[in-house]
Symmetry: C2
Subunit: 214 residues, 2 copies
DNA sequence: GTCTATACTTGGATAGAC
DNA sequence: GTCTATCCAAGTATAGAC
């Protein structure tokens, strides 16, 4: 149940001034993403999204099973794009200095693009929408797994039973989400900037101590 | 504008089987708190709260200026109670071991009572409700100040320009909120438990190294 | 103070024309 | 595929009786 709606496209023609079906579908996903970022989960309704996408509500329900289904499509788009961009650099990091610089770069990009906001809105809003919760949890879990793998390179084996990589990853993801949550509350990026700044300083020092500075 | 509604109570009598006005007011605050915890911000409506409080919607609008005003009363109740309970012990902590044990105790209590959930729901939901945002931000700021003061005892002076107490406090608050955000997503406390467990282990070791173990 | 009843608004979702 | 028109549910808020 709740299978993703993917209507068959009989003709691929983009006829005249009307855009094709796929174009409308794409526009809806992008409109929903922007609405989540700019107006928040609560104000992301079929009406508001359709208006931004420049189509009618009915089109939304033609292309998707409902609003939650559309939100899931947004999550997948953001999730896949982030994973593609960050997976390799994260696994390639070897010194604390590299890792913290990378973390800062990722945070800056995710904040500027609104991707982090999309994740926060969905994580915070999903629990009230029956089907969404599990789906969102799965995407977050994938992200935690990646961070966990990256963390393994930085936790000496004898410490791994005390400072477990998976646990560190959970804390890191929670930290990112929490920082974005607070950032929206004060719409002042300074707080997040400062945390990353201090973290990078610490990472730099740790990298130097570890010796393998490059 | 948007001043808190506090109707004058001419007679203090609790007459017959009807509870007094203050009792209804209190019941509404408690009902709103429970609704936030159990159903989330989105489902906390005048209807749902009044039903749980055992009174009519109209009573809610008599005692409060509207739903946001009621939510603010909930925030104050939770905020003040937490501050009263945690202020002294937090400022009294002197070893990392003490601090992490305390942090764990606080987290456990806040999760069990639902207070942390109230904070998360309000921080996440406030931005969409015009008046609420600034008020919630103020309460969170108070909490950050306290944590900042506690953190000063643990950051050696030469390090305080690199690891700024206020920044650490911001990160800590973000971490708590983020962990609770994720906890709700998977309704499985294990993740949070593990983070606090590992943190306490690290704190214990750090406390021993610092020498001042007690 | 508290109630019932009601006016008004917004959102999800579908029918049926084109 | 996309639209307009429409139905229905749920929310905020107020009026007026008691």
């Amino acid at each position: 149940m709740t299978a993703r709606t993917t209507p068959a496209h009989g003709s691929t023609a983009t006829r005249g001034s009307n855009r094709s079906g796929v174009a409308t579908r794409t526009a809806l996903v992008e409109a929903a993403r922007r609405t989540l970022v700019e107006d928040g989960f609560a104000r992301t309704s079929a009406r508001s999204v359709a208006a931004r996408a420049g189509c009618s509500q009915a089109s939304l329900f033609y292309h998707f099973d409902g609003v939650p289904d559309l939100l899931l499509a947004v999550l997948d788009e953001v999730s896949d794009r982030r994973m593609a961009a960050y997976r390799e650099p994260l696994l390639a990091a070897r010194t604390p200095g590299q890792l913290t610089r990378l973390a800062r770069r990722i945070a800056a990009a995710d904040i500027a693009s609104g991707d982090l906001r999309v994740l926060v809105e969905l994580v915070a809003g999903a629990p009230t929408v029956p089907g969404l919760k599990a789906q969102v949890a799965e995407r977050i879990a994938r992200w935690e797994e990646l961070v966990s793998q990256a963390a393994e390179h930085f936790i000496p084996r004898p410490l791994r039973s005390t400072v477990r990589p998976a646990v560190v990853a959970h804390a890191v993801v929670a930290g990112f989400l929490g920082l974005e949550l607070l950032r929206d509350l004060r719409d002042d990026d300074a707080g997040t900037e400062d945390v990353l700044e201090d973290l990078e300083q610490v990472g730099r020092v740790a990298g130097a101590i570890a010796g393998g500075a490059r």
